[in-house]
């Protein structure tokens, strides 16, 4: 409640970072001469700081790759050992997520993930939470577009006991009716609350507007008010049975554990987890979105002091190595404090606390969005500026400075991911869940470093040009509409906070 941060640009999932205005570094000595104490000459005292110190290039960073093993039950195990701090973090993932939600059951992957920790093995929901907290462990479950996850982070001395709880949650969820009813009530109320959050609303609308309600990616992962009401415990049981099998699972561990410690733990904890005789289903690969897309979508938020303004485009699939270079392109336009969008909308015009862009990848399609939360009075001006910045970026590509700077920035960001065991395990689990190989990070890092201006410019044009972008505005319609009219935008398609077109 007390800390207020300056840029609103701390962590944006997989994309972040930057570029600035590099000037040639003068060959200055690191240590300036201190001012002489007595009988100074007539000339002004020398500047104790001297000129800007040179910054030698940092060495490239090659992300480490995990070892890979196969446990007897069919679980693939990735391990990256780190022994400096006595913590271990593990993720179990299976390649089924929200894209497999059946028609009318948006949020089923989400509901299933939540139910995993509402009682498992010998413990009910409360006992399970208590046993986890007794160990000081962090246990979490989640589902995204393409995959489901269970993760645990714990001090090494408590690993055995925490791992046993983790295995229960993965392999022996209880799925009790009373717990389902309780979870479903809480979930429904969360969806009511989501409608009041402008950023959460915008994210829902991006997804529905870009992919359309019939596409596997065209609904919010956490569902809708209607689908949450329609869901049943039987849906959850069916989803779990199809998704969670040892022969579809990858276990990723990072931290203070060796292979000789980990593998027996996996074998013991998961000995009773068997794959059914029927062959496992292949991971779903949804097609790219087709359109036709609306040009302008408006969600009314009466009396709001700010509007969310955004430009949205289809992106890259996860397996496309061009994503490595797209990271740098994104850094240049909106992924860092010194990016073009932030410098223009925030540091030059003062319309916003921060303007950014982000690309996300998934198995079948990606999404690229540039956005800012802007003061309501400047909604039109801010949108105009944003589209202008995107147009210029698409037309001209990256400056030479941006080409250099984004290489350093992406490198610095990646190093930070590998600082904590949770960061490592989470990063690797994302790759594993998408079917990418264990050395994917090492491979694409080399490519990210090597990308030249031509490749970066082509990506800038393809993914950030405002041509064909869906413009989304979440703000007070009565005040915002006249501003949009002035920009010669087409009549907006009005949508509600769950992305449905309002007739």
């Amino acid at each position: 409640m007390t800390h207020t941060f300056r840029p609103a640009l701390m962590s944006l999932g997989m994309s972040l970072v930057a570029c600035g205005a590099q000037t040639p570094a003068a060959p200055a000595p690191l240590l300036a001469t201190p001012a002489a104490s007595a009988s100074a000459p007539v000339s002004p005292a020398p500047d104790p700081l001297g000129s800007k110190p040179p910054t030698p290039p940092s060495p490239p960073f090659l992300p480490p790759s995990p070892t890979v093993d196969l446990a007897p039950g069919g679980i693939t195990v990735w391990l990256l050992e780190r022994h400096e701090v006595p913590i271990v973090s593990c993720d179990m993932t299976v390649p089924t997520g929200a894209s497999s939600d059946p028609k009318g059951k948006a949020g089923l992957a989400h509901a299933t993930a939540r139910m995993l920790e509402e009682g498992a093995g010998a413990r009910g929901a409360i006992d399970l939470a208590r046993a986890t907290d007794d160990l000081g462990a962090h246990l979490a479950t989640d589902a995204n577009a393409d995959a489901s996850f269970v993760s645990v982070t714990v001090l090494k001395r408590n690993l055995d006991r925490a791992f046993s709880i983790f295995a229960d949650v993965v392999a022996r969820p209880r799925f009790e009716r009373a717990e389902y009813k309780r979870m479903a009530d809480l979930w429904f109320n969360e969806l009511l609350e989501r409608q009041k959050d402008p950023d959460a609303t915008a994210r829902v609308v991006y997804r529905v507007a870009l992919f359309g309600p019939d596409h596997p990616y065209g609904h919010p992962w956490d569902g809708t008010l209607k689908s949450a009401k329609a869901m049943t415990l039987e849906d959850v049981r069916r989803f779990y049975a199809a998704a969670w099998r040892p022969d579809r699972a990858v276990l990723i561990c990072a931290g203070d554990v060796t292979k000789t410690e980990l593998m027996p733990l996996v074998e013991t904890s998961f000995s009773s987890w068997k794959a059914p005789a029927a062959p496992p289903s292949a991971p779903l690969v949804p097609p790219p979105p087709k359109g036709p897309w609306p040009r302008l979508v408006l969600v009314d938020r009466p009396d709001a002091p700010q509007s969310v303004v955004a430009a949205l485009k289809p992106g890259l699939v996860a397996s496309d190595p061009a994503g490595a270079a797209l990271w740098r392109v994104n850094d240049a336009i909106g992924g860092s404090f010194t990016s073009r969008l932030n410098q223009d909308l925030r540091e030059r015009r003062g319309y916003t606390y921060g303007a950014r862009s982000r690309f996300s990848v998934s198995r079948g399609a990606g999404q690229v969005v540039s956005w800012a939360n802007v003061v309501t009075d400047k909604t039109g001006d801010a949108l105009d500026a944003m589209l202008g910045d995107l147009q210029k970026f698409a037309d001209e590509g990256l400056s030479d400075d941006e080409v250099d700077r984004t290489r350093s920035q992406a490198r610095g960001e990646l190093v930070s991911v590998y600082e904590s065991v949770e960061g490592i395990a989470g990063h690797l689990a994302a790759d594993a869940s998408l079917g990418l190989p264990p050395d994917w990070q090492a491979k694409v890092s080399a490519r990210r470093e090597a990308a030249q201006k031509g490749e970066l410019d082509a990506l800038a044009k393809q993914f950030y040009s405002p041509d064909g972008a869906i413009v989304v505005v979440v703000g007070p319609r009565a005040r915002v509409q006249p501003m949009l009219d002035k920009l010669k935008m087409p009549t907006p398609e009005i949508r509600d906070s769950e992305g449905n077109v309002v007739k």
């Binding site: 007390t2 570029c19 205005a21 700081l49 290039p57 714990v154 490198r411 949770e422």
Partner: protein, 454 residues
Amino acid sequence: MRPVSVATLPFVGAGLLAVSSANGRDLDIPFTKTTLADGMVAILSVDHAVPQVAVNISYDVGSRMEPAGRTGFAHLFEHLMFMGTRRAPIGSFDGWMEAAGGRNNAWTAEDRTDYFDIAPAAALPLLLWLEADRMRDLGPLIDQDKLGLQRDVVRNERRQSIENRPYGVEELELPKLLWPEGHPYHHPVIGSHEDLEAAGVGDVRQFFATWYDPSNASLVIVGDFDPEKIRPTLDTWFGSMPSHGKPADPGAPGFSDEKTTLRGVVRATISDNVELTKVTLAWQSPKHFAPGDAELDLVASVLAHGKESRLYKALVYDQKIAQEVSAQQESHVLGSDFVVDALVRPGVDPSKVEKALFDQVAKLREQEVSNEEIERARNGYEMEFVDRLQVVAERASLLNMYQAERGDPGFVQRDLDRYRHATAGEMLSYAKRVLTPDAVVVLTTVPRKEGGAR
């Protein structure tokens, strides 16, 4: 930039964060501390295994030092610290740092303002040079244009993170209700639009001259560097600044930091653009590191950490009257806020939730918590300590917090010991003394009627 070699894996250097195998529990962050000629403190902590460095500079100034009619100014000033100097013109602080593969941020709180930079090891001289440059020269170079621009940004920060965010308005109201007029915590850190508008260039110069004195600052470097090489640089760049001496901490004259100023139950209701009603209880509680502070941290865990916690189990799981619950001891230098809150489920009378919250708090005043509950809460804190220390920037931040508040960057072990040694008897005693039913704020946030004014 041409690659010269491939870095080895980054991670915390062995021995840097020692966790002894004997009891598996002892924390240590090795460091050296010196005071430079102008009074600035420099704390160095080497970790060669990480090919990066974190720099953290903390100034002993926060929103509680703001002059009357200038709420939000300490935070606005933080924004101005990025607005350029003669050596590093506007835009270059971020531009040069990000070009070198680094990044930075800052935060302002009631008691302190903290700036931090993270970059590849080779960029350390640049980070230090940029920080020394703005500490030395920035204030007098701020003009009306720079001030006006960052004022707009900060006002947008207020809109984005408070006014347009569900339950944000509560953050503006709670300090006013909990702390009396004239107390330095009476206003929120973000300040009012009116006061932000009123701030002028004269305020900027005065604030800089008073509070951004080297003797009021502490610098921490953590990571991959050679302390022998960097020391002379620190002396030259940071140790030779003009200083008026460390400004006196204004404290909270006339207010005790042990006795609450609340005289009864203070009730207020606000409306916000939210779906569910929220009930918040707040007490004045012991200041950071004072006796009772860690005990109340543990009490908060017992109340609301995890599904098995008392509030969650009773209000969310069993009675199903609340959607969410939380409890925190929010520690500050002059006194703390102990805050308990719950979101009320649709169709439930908020007074029922309020009563349930008070009932659970009453139990803490009547009977000792179980050993099992204490142990669980302690284990949670221990995990947080170890987890946080993996990251160089977090270590830098922690060293400076201990320096600012304890005068001892090496306080981490004793900090953890506070939790380890807390007893059920002490927790009961502080719950009795602090969480009283007759000196408490009860703030209710209700959904705004459609079309109605706030």
